[in-house]
Amino acid sequence: MEFEPVIGLEIHAQLKTESKIFCGCSTKFGGSPNTHTCPICLGMPGVLPVLNRKVVEYTIRMALATHCTIAPVCRFARKNYFYPDLPKGYQISQYELPLATGGWMEIEGTNGASRRIRIHRIHMEEDAGKLIHDDYKPFSYVDLNRTGVPLIEIVSEPDIGSPEEAASYLRAIREVLRYLDICDGNMEEGSMRCDANISLRPAGTGGLGTKVELKNMNSFKNVQKGLEFEIRRQKVMIERAEPIVQETRLWDAGRNVTVSMRGKEEANDYRYFPDPDLAPVEVDQAWIGQVRSELPELPEAKRERFVTDYELPVYDAQVLTSSKALALYFEAGLKEFARPKLLSNWIMSELMRALNKSEREIEACPVSPRDLAELLRLLDSGIISGKIAKAVFDEMFSSGKSAQSIVDEKGLVQVSDQSEIESAVDQVMSENPKEVSEFKAGKDKLIGFFVGQVMRKTKGKANPQIVNDILKKKLNG
């Protein structure tokens, strides 16, 4: 029997505020352990948490960007459980009244067509602390710097149909978070985390099978691999007519398997209740309107604008808007060099190839948009040839020098001087009499050989158009 996976994702995103959600401690990553703590985030008795306004504002941003409905009144609830990373014995989260519900996100589906993944809800909550386990002694160490760092949890509906789609959805969410400038989306550092619910059902049917919750997938690759493993595992279970247990499983990236957490989480009884320490949050239309008016241009809108305003192919627009930084790079370059398609070609080919090869992000690109524009102006005005331009680009990328200075230093200015090229052509012809007579006897293909020889003599600097013209004239004369 054919099975199809049914996947829903829960994404936790750390918000880029300066201070924590309920107190004034710093949210900075990498501080010495327990130096960003105070009576409130330590959960001392008798303290009062006060909500950081920016957390609400950032959550409204995400809600608007994902077409959610924003609740006129929402409130916080206590989620009760005991774990050493949670000093209060409860996590302040939202339960029955989250800030936002019922949105959607457009993603690129498996077959290339666009797909809409519905978003169930987005709510605000606080992060827990960090545990470090001693390898030799029976101790764990607790760092509470992260306790109280603001998070939003974005819960999708089970609309995702494959591990690739899950990765694509996760990427789309990360891009929007980055465009909105509310989360840096770094999965390896844990500023974005992802859990998945997954079940299988016979292909084409509507029902839902027993779902398994998958945790601990801390990279895009691991999300995809974890889901792929879980699909294989559940398929085997169903084929053997063994029951699938509803449980939480951890992805073990070292062994490439998922492992049951059974027993450890059996007490899944959080006894949520409204937090009496925090006043309900009322978001009125004026507030929503203000946040909406300050929203930056989102990937979807940018793509459309690149197509209509710059007359770029859809493919180019998609690649260029795949990250905010890349889109900004393109638009900065465009200010200095107003030929969108040529600029786009160079970014998508030479620039991205060089970035991939050196494993760098566009943010760390040694060639600035202005430098690239200068190179393209030299190319466009015929001062250097296309071939030379590529070599100059590589040199710019590795040395950080400007195009003009490399061209000057190495004397790479394209030779367009008729007499200089003519003398090179004469030399090549006299050195290769055999080929000359073959060409004259009708072997037209040899033109490529002659062009190559002339370029070699001029170290690639001869203007190829002029070389062609002169060769044809002389060989046919």
Binding site: T17, E18, S19, G24, C25, S26, S32, P33, N34, T35, H36, T37, C38, P39, L42, V50, L51, N52, R53, K54, V55, V56, V73, R75, N80, Y81, F82, Y83, P84, L131, I132, H133, D134, K137, P138, F139, S140, Y141, V142, D143, L144, A267, D269, R271, P274, P276, L278, A279, P280, V281, E282
Partner: protein, 96 residues
């Protein structure tokens, strides 16, 4: 109130609270919790038909602070009351 707390519920709550109770403690707690519930049950004698259910005693909305960092505690003060600490981290029995 006829919804009595059973021995099983006491065991469940004890598990959630990470408490280990002896047989006699379970019995004692079951009795005491029922007494508490009975006492709270007195509130049901009030007629609240006309009173709207609320979660907060006062009508307060939107209590915010601005996103500004203020100095944290000295780490030695943060760790001062902990049963286990090494001057940098809280130290707890190994959890995995």
């Amino acid at each position: 109130m006829d919804s009595k707390i059973t021995r099983n519920e006491v065991r469940h709550v004890a598990l959630l609270a990470r408490l280990e109770l002896s047989q006699s403690e379970e019995e004692l707690m079951t009795g005491q919790m029922n007494t508490i519930l009975e006492y709270m049950g007195k509130l049901n004698e009030l007629d609240t038909k006309e009173v709207e259910a609320t979660t907060h005693a006062i009508e307060l909305r939107n209590v915010f602070r601005e996103d500004r960092v203020v100095p944290s505690l000295d780490r030695k003060d943060s760790l001062a009351n902990a049963p286990g600490a090494d001057g940098v981290n809280f130290v707890v029995p190994r959890v995995l």
